[in-house]
Symmetry: C2
Subunit: 123 residues, 2 copies
DNA sequence: GAGGAAATGAAAATTGTTGGCAAAAGTAAA
DNA sequence: TTTACTTTTGCCAACAATTTTCATTTCCTC
């Protein structure tokens, strides 16, 4: 049976405090402010658990690698600015999902990564 | 100054011969049929060069990890079947790119990963 | 060809992630 | 509560993926 641990609670809090996709190292750093002894392996283990629970999901940043973000925040996409290398969350969806794939394919979900220049870099 | 090497030529040929996203190990295996001495580090180095040149691009398969594919093959997206775990290339584009991000964001490119069940698994 | 810079191969070094195990902590029942 | 039991944790070793180091080889220009 799954137990509630201060470590996992701390990790959940980290995601609640930072409303954006986080990398493993960020989770570890912020998490240690809540539980000083927090270990990297524990972070990995709990990220996996939280993904299995459907509480988190993993996305892949083109250069930062794996990032983790809360699920259920409403449908949104990601925008990667190749000037400042930041990831933005873009609310809404401009995909015509019914036309996204040929007949026969059952589309259940999708993920969109936009690339370009963000407003502050575009100046 | 960049030089033409038989190794990089071989790697380019591998992608021309196989019209689909390839993993590092596949590039190495197929490449060695062209240049027996081909080394893994050389593959990594040249994949990076070819990406910088805009000749290749890297995508992330949810379970296979990084895959590399030729650019300029016509716009397409990827469909991942969670039954058979295969990746399909879906031609065309159902994204309303002009509406994809708020004003101020300059959208230059995008990548869409669709998730669901493919025709053969959907029966 | 000869000279010099860039690329390669081989292996070590990093980085990112997972697994093993003894100790610590959460939970249920006494 | 305390006890008894099992899950988690922390630490560290083990892996896997990728990058770097460096001596040697290869390409390109003269």
């Amino acid at each position: 049976m799954r137990r509630n641990t201060t470590q996992r609670t701390a990790i959940e809090q980290v995601f609640s405090q930072h409303e954006r996709p986080l990398g493993v190292d960020e989770v570890l750093t912020y998490g240690r402010k809540l539980v000083e002894s927090l270990n990297q392996a524990t972070v990995y283990r709990n990220l996996k658990i939280l993904i299995d629970d459907g509480w988190l999901k993993r996305i892949f940043h083109p250069s930062l690698g794996a990032l983790y973000e809360r699920t259920g925040k409403g449908h949104h996409h990601h925008f990667y600015c190749h000037e400042c290398h930041r990831v933005f969350e873009i609310p809404g969806c401009a995909l015509r999902e019914d036309e996204a794939a040929p007949d026969g394919f059952v589309v259940e979900d999708h993920e969109i990564f936009l690339f370009g220049v963000c407003p502050s870099c575009a100046g």
